[in-house]
């Protein structure tokens, strides 16, 4: 019996799962969906060419660990949501053959890069024969935030009861974006209007941040406590890159002398690409009662984006580059949507794990939700106070991408663990009953509000 007749599943476009508008009211499944399991692979800076550490292999490992953590058997899983693109900038060189030992180690699909530099549900299901009951599959774009929000909505809508949400990031040799079209003497396509003149992907955020510093009379150096705090928290995350490979603290001097990429963003303001995978088990609150871990309930989810049929993409910018004002308005609108969906007020949040892939993004996001009562222009002032896990306003207790490496999922794991009381050395000292996690850009995002109770 071939794979395709052995397992039949239906699929739904993830675009229909996202809440991108204001005025939708409280999320219709508030308190009825819960996270019950977490699984992480190890991390590497770059793939070491062994089949057992390929992103496919590590995705399988993360999925198995998540199921084990939740106490579900593979046969109980009936849904799978994943992001098929496992990079934004690291591509398998077109003239490089696929390693034979990788081909020999796994069941292949028609796509030779599957499991190596991208990931399909078909590849996962072919190589996880224990998942005998998956009847629903969904593909989400870009990040774990999109994947998780889609899985949560799917469970709420009844498409699946025990749903795995998976995100893998591969990282191969070399640096992002070098060579290829960027090495050509000419430029075609959208790059000719702007990116061709700038270059680094951090340019737009750095430019927005320059405007921020000008507008609110702040300095780049004021970011230091946030970066140091993020790395400190990241070092307390056993699953994170620096905890595993370079467990040295970061000092303010280290940060301030770090080389510029697109000033006012230096190397340490940019998240570092790594090779890793994570998975979560999402289920109904009813099923969650029988599982191993304390359930963490979803009060709501929302974000920024444009849904057009089956497509979910960023809110279009007005012109060549999005301005600070556009970023601030997207963040504020997302804040309103988040609180509306969850049925809570800003002051109800005990902690936040919002995106920090370029560190100024964290500034925009937490101002958008008014975390710790801050208004626009006040995040850097907040950073000069106690933002540690021991303090009254824990900022990014996960350490985020800045503290753990570029995965965009540390915040989700940490938020669930904080509420369960199993964040270990990262456990915040204040109450940890309601938190928010997600990302990534102000113009394209999904955030989840987690709670210790169904609300």
């Amino acid at each position: 019996m071939t794979y395709r007749t052995q397992m039949a599943y239906r699929t739904v476009p993830s675009a229909s799962m996202y809440r991108t508008k204001e005025g939708l009211g409280i999320w219709e499944h508030r308190g009825k969906v819960a996270a019950v399991g977490i699984g992480h692979s190890p991390t590497l800076r770059r793939w070491d060419a062994r089949p057992e550490t390929s992103i496919g292999a590590w995705s399988i490992l993360a999925l198995r660990r998540a199921m084990d953590d939740a106490g579900v058997t593979p046969g109980q899983v009936d849904g799978l949501v994943l992001a098929p693109d496992t990079t934004t900038g690291s591509h398998w060189p077109p003239d490089q053959p696929i390693p034979q030992d990788f081909i020999d180690a796994f069941e292949q699909t028609d796509d030779r890069f599957d499991g190596l530099s991208k990931l399909s549900a078909e590849w996962i299901l072919k190589n996880m024969p224990e998942l005998t009951n998956v009847r629903f599959v969904m593909v989400a774009p870009v990040c774990m935030s999109m994947t998780l929000a889609a899985a949560i909505q799917a469970v709420g809508d009844g498409h699946a009861t025990v749903c795995l949400a998976l995100r893998g990031w591969h990282n191969l040799g070399g640096r992002y974006f070098q060579g290829g079209a960027n090495a050509e003497p000419t430029v075609s396509g959208p790059g000719k209007w702007g990116l061709s003149l700038a270059g680094p992907s951090s340019y737009a955020t750095a430019m927005q941040f320059q405007r921020y510093l000008h507008k609110y009379n702040k300095t780049h150096d004021m970011m230091a406590p946030f970066i140091i705090n993020s790395r400190r928290n990241g070092l307390l995350f056993p699953e994170g890159y620096w905890a595993q490979h370079h467990p040295e603290p970061l000092t303010t001097a280290d940060y301030l002398k770090s080389r510029w990429i697109a000033k006012p963003a230096n190397l340490l303001d940019n998240d570092m690409p790594i090779h890793a995978a994570a998975a979560y088990v999402i289920t109904t609150s009813e099923r969650a009662k029988d599982m191993k871990q304390t359930p963490v309930y979803v009060l709501g989810h929302a974000g920024a984006g444009t849904v057009n049929g089956d497509s979910h993409s960023a809110v279009a910018g007005r012109s060549v580059v999005r301005t600070l004002e556009e970023a601030e308005e997207h963040a504020a609108s997302t804040g309103r949507k988040i609180f509306e969906a969850a049925g809570i007020k800003p002051g109800d949040l005990d902690f936040e794990n919002m995106y920090d892939g370029f560190s100024p993004l964290h500034v925009f996001h937490i101002e958008g939700i008014g975390f710790a009562g801050i208004k626009r222009g006040e995040a850097l002032d907040l950073f000069q106070t106690d933002i540690s896990i021991a303090g009254p306003n824990p900022v990014s207790p996960s350490g985020g991408n800045i503290g753990g490496g570029r995965t965009r999922y540390w915040g989700h794991t940490d938020s669930i663990q904080q509420i369960q009381g199993r964040a270990g050395a990262r456990q915040i000292r204040v109450r940890a009953e309601i938190g928010v996690s997600g990302g990534n850009m102000p113009q394209w995002s999904n955030f989840i509000v987690w709670s210790s109770t169904p609300g």
Binding site: R175, Y176, F177, Q178, G179, N182, A183, E184, P185, T186, V187, S188, P190, K192, W193, G194, S196, L197, A198, G199, P200, Y203, A206, M207, Q208, Q210, R211, H214, R259, W260, I261, A262, K263, P264, A265, A316, R318, S319, V320, V321, T323, L324
Partner: protein, 138 residues
């Protein structure tokens, strides 16, 4: 600075032809009375493909913000890094911004809010001209 030469396509050729004639034209919807850039086949606001035209602007603008690029993946710009990349708000086209290397302005000495004037620069690969801006005092 030797930039990559933009390759015109059938749709945006009028923009690049105008640059070669030292003119800056932008897409303008007569129905919405609104400029749009980068250009697209339809007006973003009303969706019409019929109501817009290429309209010339004088290109005078204001520096909205900038960043100084020290580490670019664009190969032809690497010999010149670090370099300024400023965002220019165009006076005659509210909401429209464009990027500039601000030729003649020292690195990291970019006055946000200053007035800039349009000029054109030849790109080396194909000779295609591209818009640039300089501080008015220069």
């Amino acid at each position: 600075m030797p930039k990559q030469s933009p390759v015109p396509d059938e749709f945006d050729k009028p923009f690049w032809d105008a640059c070669n004639g030292n003119r800056l034209v932008l897409q303008y919807c007569n129905s919405c009375e609104r400029f749009q850039h980068p250009p697209r086949p339809r007006c973003d606001q009303c969706g019409s493909a019929e109501t817009w035209e290429w309209k010339q602007v004088n290109g005078t603008g204001t520096i909205y913000s900038y960043a100084v690029v020290y580490d670019t993946p664009i190969a032809c710009l690497q010999p010149d890094q670090p370099y300024n990349v400023a965002v220019i708000d165009l006076d005659e086209a509210p909401g429209i911004n464009m990027l500039s290397h601000l030729p003649g302005t020292p690195i990291d000495d970019v006055p946000i809010g200053a007035t800039v004037a349009l000029m054109f620069e030849v790109t080396p690969a194909t000779g295609q001209k591209v818009p640039e801006w300089q501080l008015v005092s220069q």
